[in-house]
């Protein structure tokens, strides 16, 4: 019976401890900087256009082929009287969040630091009624960064803490 008593005492000791419940939908725990939700595109606030040039690097590297990228000539390029140094720029971009497996490879292969994993709660709470709604277009992908609502973390492969 000693063991049963010990077991009862164990539960009694947890009874007196503070509950560990996180009141999830009401209280969101702070997410770490590196948190990985779904990828989104970043907005170059200085020139007011996306960083993405539509180079297809991420599309090719994606293991699950969830991206579709189309590029166009940049109408804002210097040669045509604009302010941008980007000759090509993203025209259309779709990411199927339903298929994305959040492996971070697209971020690593991007040469322009134009794509990042969403590290805010908006990136996690994506439930929709129809799978179709998880295919996000360019506007949707850029919206959060354009509004400045994200402090992105773009990891560099093999980067150390020096």
């Amino acid at each position: 019976m000693k063991g049963i008593a010990r077991s009862l005492m164990t539960t009694l000791s947890t009874f007196s401890r503070k509950p560990v419940t996180r009141d999830y939908p009401n209280v969101h725990k702070p997410l770490p900087e590196r948190d990985r939700a779904f990828p989104l595109l970043l907005w170059d606030q200085d020139i007011d256009e996306p960083f993405c040039t539509g180079c297809h690097a991420c599309e090719r590297a994606c293991p699950v082929e969830c991206m579709t990228v189309l590029m166009k000539d940049n109408p804002n390029h210097k040669t045509v009287g604009g302010t941008s140094t980007r000759r090509k720029i993203i025209d259309k971009f779709w990411i199927d969040y339903a298929r994305c497996m959040r492996c971070n490879i697209c971020v690593e292969v991007c040469n322009f630091d134009a794509i990042a994993m969403n590290n805010t709660w908006t990136g996690h709470e994506m439930s929709v009624h129809d799978r179709k709604d998880l295919v996000i277009d360019l506007q949707g992908l850029l919206a959060q960064s354009r509004a400045g609502a994200i402090k992105e973390w773009v990891p560099v492969l093999g980067q150390t803490n020096e």
Binding site: G3, S7, T14, V20, P32, R34, P63, V156, L157, E162
Partner: protein, 375 residues
């Protein structure tokens, strides 16, 4: 006598279908129990409900892309699964992993072992019939560990953090303090489980002496991990064929003596204490800064033709990756040697002749993860 009676009353054995949606099958495992009253006469396991063809998929992906799929074959101990995979690639490509990266890998794998075993303790406790308490204890501690993994790798379960050659990026700056904090909380969790179960008479009466498998049988079935060590076979890849820095740390290979359900439980509990010891040693020996990837990494990793069978000790046993390369940037053939699959084969031998309730415990004590069994 019995057969005569059976003829007289025309009795027949009852077939009970346990799973794939039964609460105690830990996923989508299905077994058909042939019972006579409450006694199990035969067990017919069915697996494959979670087969996603990870091996075939990896043949079409380059080495980096495959990492994400390895996570998904072993979702409770994804670091360990990744480790086998990236080490197989490193072994083939002849990559030298920086020392610091090895220490970090080791710490993360041992932490993952802790989190996986907490999950086992919780689920197994619920199998024995405690209303939810062990499960919440397990989740509580696992949550701490997972939060740490999230801080480091960015994801809670599918880390995709190890890369051929090292690590994707460095750990957080307060890594050591955070790990110390977390293992302190884990030690408390182990204490809680110890208090809840180890001496509890009912638990002892339920688990001791059932689900027996002898050392010879366990070896014959190819069991591994705590399931075989409980039978008294000190089979541990970490010590027999040390990888990473396991030869430089001091730890015990925990073995049981009886090969029953209780020993499998006790082995895991003790193994968690050993894991904490390993982590503490790693923290002491690990450098604070240093490279985590080799100096020169090719943009697209190619391996020379050849093959390697890389084995590591995952929480559930030997997680092996058989990687065959034909010189390209992707595996020619990838075989995942699943510890659970081999452990599960012995289920029938362990459960026949027991009560239905015991058969559930035996299944729980093997600690299966169906994504690893089915891949």
């Amino acid at each position: 006598m019995v057969t005569e009676r059976a003829r007289e009353f025309d009795t027949q054995d009852l077939l009970i279908n346990v799973g794939p949606q039964h609460p105690s099958t830990h996923g989508v495992f299905r077994m058909v129990l042939e019972v006579d009253g409450e006694l199990v006469k035969d067990v017919i396991p069915y697996i494959g409900y979670l087969h996603r063809g990870a091996e075939k998929l990896c043949e079409t992906m380059d080495y980096r892309q495959g990492i994400g799929f390895m996570d998904r074959t072993e979702y409770l101990a994804a670091f360990n699964a990744e480790l086998s995979y990236v080490m197989a690639v490193e072994e083939l490509a002849g990559l030298e992993v920086p020392e610091r990266a090895q220490w970090i890998r080791m710490i993360l794998c041992e932490l993952n072992r802790l989190s996986s075993h907490f999950m086992f303790l919780g689920a197994f406790g619920v199998d024995t019939g405690v209303m939810g308490t062990p499960f919440i204890y397990g989740w509580r501690e696992r949550e701490m560990l997972i939060d740490l993994f999230e801080e480091i790798s960015g994801d809670r379960m599918m880390y995709a953090y190890f890369r051929p050659g090292g690590l994707a990026w460095d750990v957080t700056r307060n890594f050591k303090e955070r790990v110390r904090e977390v293992i302190k909380s884990s030690a408390q969790g182990i204490k809680d489980f110890d208090g809840l179960f180890t001496e509890n008479e009912i638990f002892v009466a339920r688990t001791k002496g059932i689900g027996y498998i002898s050392a010879e049988d366990a070896i014959d079935y190819g069991m591994s991990g705590p399931s075989i060590r409980a039978s008294g076979v000190p089979l541990d890849v970490r010590r027999d064929e040390p990888y990473l820095k396991y030869s430089e740390v001091d730890f015990q290979v925990v073995t049981g003596q009886h090969g029953d359900v209780f020993d499998r439980y006790a082995c895991r509990l003790q193994e968690m204490r050993e894991s904490i010891k390993i982590i503490e040693q790693c923290l002491d020996k690990m450098a604070d800064t240093g490279p985590i990837m080799p100096e020169k990494m090719p943009r697209m990793l190619r391996t020379p033709p050849g093959e390697v069978y890389m084995r590591t000790e995952a929480p559930r046993g030997e997680y092996g990756i058989y990687l065959v390369s034909n010189g390209g940037n992707r595996p020619y053939r990838l075989k995942v040697r699943s510890a659970c699959l081999s452990n599960l084969q012995a289920l029938k031998q362990m459960s026949v002749g027991l009560y239905v309730a015991d058969a559930i415990l035996v299944l729980g004590s093997i600690d299966i993860v169906l994504s690893e069994v089915d891949r």
